[in-house]
């Protein structure tokens, strides 16, 4: 009802649309550009002739990637860590999130535990001590080094317990009156109700595990055990100081479309996952920021 369409308003709407379209374009361009590079011939890439559409279309770069045994094994390590990490982390988050969602009256030690979790959000042991502990617990060079150290994320726990807290008290009370134990209340009543927030958690955990590279570099001594992002880090991120003098040795040129193909393949899983939880993000973020 306050849509008085004046001339100025129309001007604003047009400008606003332009700005937002530009912003969207700036987010889409790097991805489409990478895709175009990966589908172009090495010569076209080197000559700087590729923008948004493939030039001299070909799939060679992708064939190379598919034949690259190290790429494939790193991809599998990543899939494995995502699945294991998702399982372990989701279980831990649920196990911790439910008791912490109780009031002090329902669970007297609740605040003590809460403090214990909160402290881990504020303090971090630092690089070297964390590394030494992982080494001492015998995880170095195993997939568990990528899963267990981050198995409990206090932020996610708080997200979930806030959601549980927002559910009406009557649900918990009536379940108790019916004589259901805590485990049963959690598994059969609270978990099904928490689907929206669980969807957000799944996306957070999957994306975090898929994107994580530093732990792979830190805890894996052998390159064949690297997860995909760690492996790509050794390839894709290379700033050649000689580049400015245009020393274009052939090998370097031919890898540019291959790098693009590797980047694009590694991006696909995340791009497929995140839109699914989009409508829940607001809830997740707003709830998460109301700590306590």
């Amino acid at each position: 009802m306050y849509y008085k369409s004046s001339f100025l308003r129309k001007v604003f709407v047009v400008c606003n649309s332009c700005i937002l379209i530009l912003a969207c374009a700036s987010c889409l361009f790097p991805i489409l550009h990478t895709l175009a590079l990966s589908l172009s011939s090495a010569d076209a890439v080197a000559a700087g002739r590729v923008s948004l559409l493939p030039v001299e279309f070909q799939l060679d770069a992708y064939l190379h990637v598919m034949e690259d045994a190290r790429f494939l094994s790193a991809f599998l390590v990543s899939v494995k860590r995502v699945l294991l990490g998702l399982m372990v982390e989701l279980c831990m988050t649920i196990l911790a999130g439910y008791p912490l969602s109780k009031t002090k009256k329902q669970f007297p030690k609740r605040n003590v535990y809460m403090g214990f979790f909160l402290v881990t959000m504020c303090f971090w042991g630092g690089l070297i001590p964390s590394y030494l502990v992982v080494k001492q617990t015998g995880l170095v060079d195993t997939i568990w080094a990528l899963v267990l150290p981050g198995a409990v994320n206090a932020g996610n726990v708080i997200l979930l317990q806030n959601y549980f807290k927002s559910l009406p008290d009557e649900i918990y009370d009536s379940a108790q009156v019916d004589g259901a134990g805590e485990w049963r209340i959690l598994l059969q009543i609270f978990l099904p109700l928490a689907k929206p927030i669980l969807a957000v958690l799944v996306v957070y955990i999957v994306v975090a595990h898929w994107n994580s590279w530093f732990d792979g570099m830190l805890y894996m001594n052998h390159a064949e055990k690297f997860p995909l992002q760690t492996y790509l880090q050794t390839i894709v991120v290379e700033i050649d100081p000689k580049e400015v003098f245009n020393v274009k040795d052939l090998q370097n040129i031919s890898t540019r479309n291959m790098k693009a193909a590797q980047i694009f393949v590694a991006m696909i899983p995340v791009l497929c996952v995140y839109p699914f939880a989009q409508k829940h993000f607001i809830k997740g973020i707003v709830l998460g920021s109301v700590k306590g």
């Binding site: 306050y2 849509y3 004046s6 308003r9 709407v13 606003n16 700005i19 937002l20 912003a23 969207c24 987010c27 790097p30 991805i31 000559a47 700087g48 923008s51 831990m92 196990l95 008791p99 109780k102 669970f107 881990t120 303090f123 971090w124 042991g125 630092g126 690089l127 070297i128 001590p129 964390s130 030494l132 502990v133 409990v152 134990g181 485990w183 959690l186 994107n211 994580s212 590279w213 530093f214 830190l218 992002q229 760690t230 790509l232 880090q233 894709v236 991120v237 700033i239 100081p241 400015v244 540019r256 790098k259 980047i263 590694a266 995340v270 995140y274 989009q278 993000f281 707003v286 920021s289």
Partner: protein
């Protein structure tokens, strides 16, 4: 008696649920926290935490004398400061603009698109940025060529490094950052807009006198809280975009900790730098929380 027993049993379930998560935190969070003592030792892995020699504050004296430490501290603060300012400002502007889009479907599509960069890892994003900013045929330099500017080696230049780091980080996160502002915007009482309209306020006046004051507490709170990040310049991004030639402008505390600790094996020195960063960072977090409470408490309630 019976009731009490039942209660005890009930709590037991809670304790059991928390057992594993707590155990994980003890091993992988709390023990490393204790590991900070090696900042006060001449730590030798063979001797372990307990038998290494105690050296008091020697390690800290060493790092304060190290010229690289000062450089890293200054770089860290500069990069983090501009990331904080623009990292709040840009999402704020875009959330107000997005809020003006009447068509719900278009709005959602735009949101999906601008969230995207946030989800792509810094490793991949760095690969893309290096390609796009490349001096030999990168998209940006081709664009500059059109207007007659010589190719610039952005990521090989100490002058360009910090602006590129700040800009790409703000760009990567601005979409994600709009979420919380959009939530704050949707929380503004619609009656206020109606009242403003009855008083003859147009859309611009409404934005100025209803929307902005409406989200001001959120903005101030987020801005204040984000100053807790003043020593977090973003390891993933800087490490992946930095090279030998840009160390001067790009070396930050986190990359210094990594270089000293992992690459050079100076465990104690590296941990001392890390401890310094944690302690000062912690002070800023507490200070910002206090300030946020004071300011927004004063404004909002």
């Amino acid at each position: 008696m019976n009731v009490k027993k039942k209660k005890k049993k009930k709590y037991l379930a809670f304790h059991l649920m928390l057992l594993l998560p707590v155990l994980f935190l003890v091993v992988y969070s709390y023990i490393p926290m204790g590991g900070f003592i090696i900042a006060f030792q001449d730590f030798k892995p063979i001797k372990g935490f307990l038998k290494s020699e105690w050296v008091g504050l020697d390690n800290f004296m060493t790092i304060f004398k190290n010229p690289f430490f000062g450089r890293a501290l200054i770089n860290t603060v500069i990069i983090a400061f501009w990331k904080i300012i623009f990292g709040q400002l840009v999402p704020l502007v875009f959330s107000i603009l997005l809020n003006e889009v009447a068509h719900a479907g278009r709005k959602r599509v735009a949101q999906t698109i601008i969230y995207m960069p946030y989800f792509i890892s810094w490793v991949l994003m760095s690969g893309i940025i290096i390609e796009i900013f490349s001096p030999s045929g990168g998209a940006v330099n081709r664009l500059l060529e059109l207007v007659g500017i010589e190719p610039i080696f952005f990521l090989g230049s100490n002058a360009w490094f910090k602006p590129i780091i700040v800009a790409t980080d703000v760009w990567k996160r601005f979409g994600w950052g709009t979420i919380i502002y959009m939530a704050a915007l949707s929380g503004i009482d619609l009656n206020l807009y109606e009242a403003a309209m009855l008083d003859g306020a147009g859309r611009w006046k409404q934005t100025l006198h209803v929307t902005l004051p409406g989200i001001a507490p959120t903005v101030i709170m987020l801005l204040t809280l984000s100053f807790g990040d003043i020593l977090n310049a973003g390891f993933d991004q800087v490490y992946n975009l930095m090279s030998g030639v840009t160390m001067e402008a790009g070396d930050i505390l986190d990359t210094l900790v990594y270089r000293l600790g992992i690459e050079q094996g100076q465990y104690s020195i590296s941990t001392a730098v890390g401890l310094f960063k944690s302690m000062v960072g912690m002070m800023f977090v507490l200070l910002s929380y206090k300030l946020a409470h004071k300011i927004t408490g004063y404004r909002a309630f």
